[in-house]
Symmetry: C2
Subunit: 240 residues, 2 copies
């Protein structure tokens, strides 16, 4: 398996089926094949088929899921694409850097590159499920790229990065990287524990949870670390 075979392109809440088709074409042009659609407005759809210009195999094999968490199952690394800076967010990568990190991580397991809705982009909740986020350099006076154009640029950078992989892995430390689900279970566990301990107001837990996600995201957790943290949480819960 080549690194590109381990890279999923995830489109979240896509409105226009033509963009799904154009994404499939852009992916196949650059040698990628794994498309995941999170709650698409219309799919399958004749417009998607037409705009794929023959990349119908990518559409036929596309996985349709209802949440980003499902789309990220089994991944060890994910990059969210965003056109705007976010409160709380760590420093973004540039497109080219993100491609290099994705290809490097793809030598260790499945990874994902995530694109949001045409108008609204990704929600903060979606963004913080990804380890890193990345921006495409654009004209600040006219910054809104078509989503399929953004996919095209990223898949091009991924193809070039895969041809010239370069640096050693940066996914995590010496240990095995935690999977997406393992981190999600940890976050859920923490949230339950935080509410049970009355540290966290169950009516408005969001900001704290975002901050925790940000921390884990920046750190790049290993499996062993997740196990330790969860063991610790379980111990805390039993104590009371």
């Amino acid at each position: 398996m080549q690194p590109l075979d381990h890279i999923r392109v995830v489109l979240s809440h896509t409105s226009h089926p033509g963009n799904i088709g154009a994404t499939a074409r852009a992916m196949k042009n650059m040698g990628l094949s794994r498309l995941v659609l999170v709650n698409p407005k219309h799919f399958p759809d004749p417009q998607a088929h037409a705009m794929s210009a023959g990349a119908t195999d990518v559409l036929a094999n596309a996985q349709v899921v209802s949440t980003l968490a499902q789309g990220l199952e089994g991944t060890i690394f994910a990059v969210a694409m965003s056109a705007r800076r976010r409160e709380l967010a760590v420093t973004p990568l540039w497109a080219r850097e993100a491609a290099a990190e994705l290809v490097t991580a793809a030598t260790q397991g499945d990874v994902a590159l995530v694109f949001g809705n045409e108008t609204a982009g990704l929600s903060n909740e979606e963004l913080f499920q990804c380890r890193r986020w990345a921006m495409i350099p654009v004209n600040p006076g006219f910054s809104s790229l078509n989503v399929a154009a953004a996919v095209q640029l990223m898949c091009y950078e991924l193809r070039l990065a895969a041809q010239n992989p370069g640096q050693p892995p940066v996914v995590a430390g010496a240990g095995l990287p935690a999977s997406h689900e393992e981190v999600e279970h940890l976050v859920a566990h923490l949230e339950r524990a935080a509410i049970a301990s009355e540290f966290l107001d169950p009516a408005s837990p969001k900001r704290l949870i975002l901050r925790l996600r940000r921390l884990f995201s920046r750190a790049g957790l290993e499996k062993e670390e997740v196990n330790i943290l969860r063991g610790l949480l379980t111990a805390f819960e039993k104590k009371r």
Copy 2:
């Protein structure tokens, strides 16, 4: 003026007006504004307007001409995009190298990046009017990029190259580079002289002329060199 302001995007014989609009959007996203349309099938057109997603200024300022030679008037350097290798053609540049050369040349004068028809690409006659030609790295099993996607990739590379110009000019030697018209006049002059001398069969001059174009294209002629060659031709013509 920034280098990007000296770069024309030339679309030759575009069939689908939606691609013209998507090209305008892709250009403006990356900070380019000068669009030239060679004999477009439909322009202006509501589909071009819709697909420009607000880059209507680029469409409104687009220059419509009937031949590529007109579209290249005043340029000192041009790169043709092609998806396939050509008989006679010099070694192609990769997209990223072409962007670096265009940006460098754009510090000395106007330059052009030329894209062909959606189905047929550029003709050999068009290709050899350009100093260099370039390819985008693609999946060899599915290599046909949408023309607006190709424009998007190249404009992205141009934006990055303009942010990080790097190398000294490679357009020509120490002297001023010849303009497109100057080289065209030289080629026409050579053709007349070659036919008059009976070296060239006027019924089938194409292959020789292509080879000459290729030579000049590779060399990157200077103004002074064109003047010398034309003076020499004139002298030969008078001698008989």
